[in-house]
């Protein structure tokens, strides 16, 4: 069944149009990867779905309910969780406190502090450490854990591999894979196209605010993505 429906979304930052007439459908249990160059509008789209950015036009429908005008914290209580770009942990709070804040979502489910620490054992030793003192990988794990604490049905992940060592990225993706196995629907923005194609079941490529390529990950080739990524196949260009 369709869990998320994005319909003709327009999103702006001041005078700049970041997302133009984007429509998407995500089935429950799917993993969707959003790829594209910088400024393509991927993060803005995720923020619009999560509710921290108001769209200039279009609708977001989650589990059959129109949430376009619903405030972010209510969407979290309905089951949408975003791991924001740059992690954005609460720096003065400890790892455990960062996780506990998310219980504000009041959602039932398998995720609690213990469960998060099982998936990210590297955090156990740092559970009482201030979030600001953690390494990049530990912060990323905490940010994902914090989103999980809301027991989401739809997990939105924005650029999880930025600034992390490859071995740490492996671990993060392994955890995301487990989540997917358990039935969580995942939409992730990923710079590394190879990884995105390997992980997701479907891929969407954006360019200058529009969707320029869409399809099952195993059917889409790297060449197709490259062309869509730069838009160079357009008439008059290279």
């Amino acid at each position: 069944m369709t869990l998320l429906l994005v319909e003709s979304i327009d999103a702006r930052y001041g005078l700049l149009q970041a997302v133009r007439d984007v429509s998407l459908e995500v089935e429950e249990g799917e993993t969707l990867a959003l790829v594209g160059a910088n400024g393509a509008g991927k993060s803005t789209l995720l923020c619009t779905i999560a509710g921290s950015h108001r769209p200039a036009g279009g609708r977001i429908v989650f589990d059959g309910v129109d949430v376009t005008r619903v405030r972010a914290h209510r969407r979290v209580r309905m089951g949408i969780a975003l791991v924001p770009e740059g992690r954005r942990l609460f720096p003065a709070l400890t790892v455990e406190e960062n996780l506990l804040v998310a219980t504000a979502a009041h959602r039932e489910g398998p995720w609690d502090v213990e469960a998060v620490l099982e998936v990210f054992p590297l955090l156990r030793a740092h559970r009482s450490a201030r979030a600001a003192s953690l390494s990049g990988g530990e912060q990323q794990a905490t940010a994902i854990g914090r989103a999980l604490m809301t027991n989401p049905r739809l997990l939105l992940v924005d650029e999880v591999s930025l600034g992390l060592a490859p071995v740490v990225v492996e671990r993060v993706y392994a955890a995301l894979g487990e989540l997917s196995q358990r039935g969580t629907t995942i939409v992730l923005v990923e710079q590394d196209v190879g990884r995105a194609l390997a992980f997701a079941s479907r891929v969407v490529c954006m360019l200058e605010g529009r969707v320029v390529l869409e399809g099952p990950a195993r059917d889409v080739t790297r060449e197709q993505v490259t062309d869509a990524y730069f838009g160079l196949a357009r008439a008059g260009a290279v």
Partner: protein
Amino acid sequence: MSWVNAVIHGILLGGLYALLATGLSLMFGVMRIINLAHGSLALLGAYLAFLLTEHAGVSTYLALIAVLPIALLFGYVLQVTMLERSLRAGELVPLLTTFGLLIVIANLLQYFFSPDVHSLPSGSIGSASWRVSSTIQIPWFDVLILGIAIFVLVGLQLLLTKTQLGRELRATAADAETAELVGVNARGVYARATAIAVATAALAGVFYAMRSAFDPFAGPSQLIYAFEAVVIGGVGSLWGTLIGGIVLGVAQTVGAQIDVQYFALSGHLVFLAVLVVRAVAAGGLRRISLSRTVTA
């Protein structure tokens, strides 16, 4: 007539300032709102207690039990109606709205209560004191106020560190947008913070009114002392507020020891000195080199 006595009185006075400043510090720390009506809200608490003691004949302490819940509710409503909208209109707009509120409160109080000076009865403890030596006399009432101030600060500290509300408060203060993204209702958090701030202000106002005379225009001067205490102690730290209050109190009483007229002035001078020292320490007096600015 002794310096030791002056210092002790200063410390005790600091307790009242700390209690008064707590709400101001809380609102700025969580919401970046400088509530110019803070002193006036404290005064409202005093007048409410006054109504109850004059017309219901109860002791001030009993009146306090009624004043606090009313203050909590008032603060909640104030945030949800006036301050929430002001925040959305811009960072500096709350300054304007709270200033307007300050004026409205002063004039309403004058209208309903006349400009006459009043005082609240403080009971037997109000006049009791402990004669330590020939030069040192400690009023029990002031000790009570200091005790209550510490109690409130400890309570708030526990609230902030040990409860879910406290976590949500700290998270929202750090990053309201991200807090919303993990399910926290930022507006609800703000409303509860203001409720607590106004309740502590009312508490401080009642004790202030028991200690000295008050009139409808006493709000702004109390605001200034609270503001100075917050700034001296460092914005954003609850214990800093206690220290700030004590430093201010001691500055004032020691100044008064030199000459009674210097009471307020010495407090202001110490406040100014702290500001200057902080600015210099932060390198504010060095020219900022524009060539170091990086545009994104």
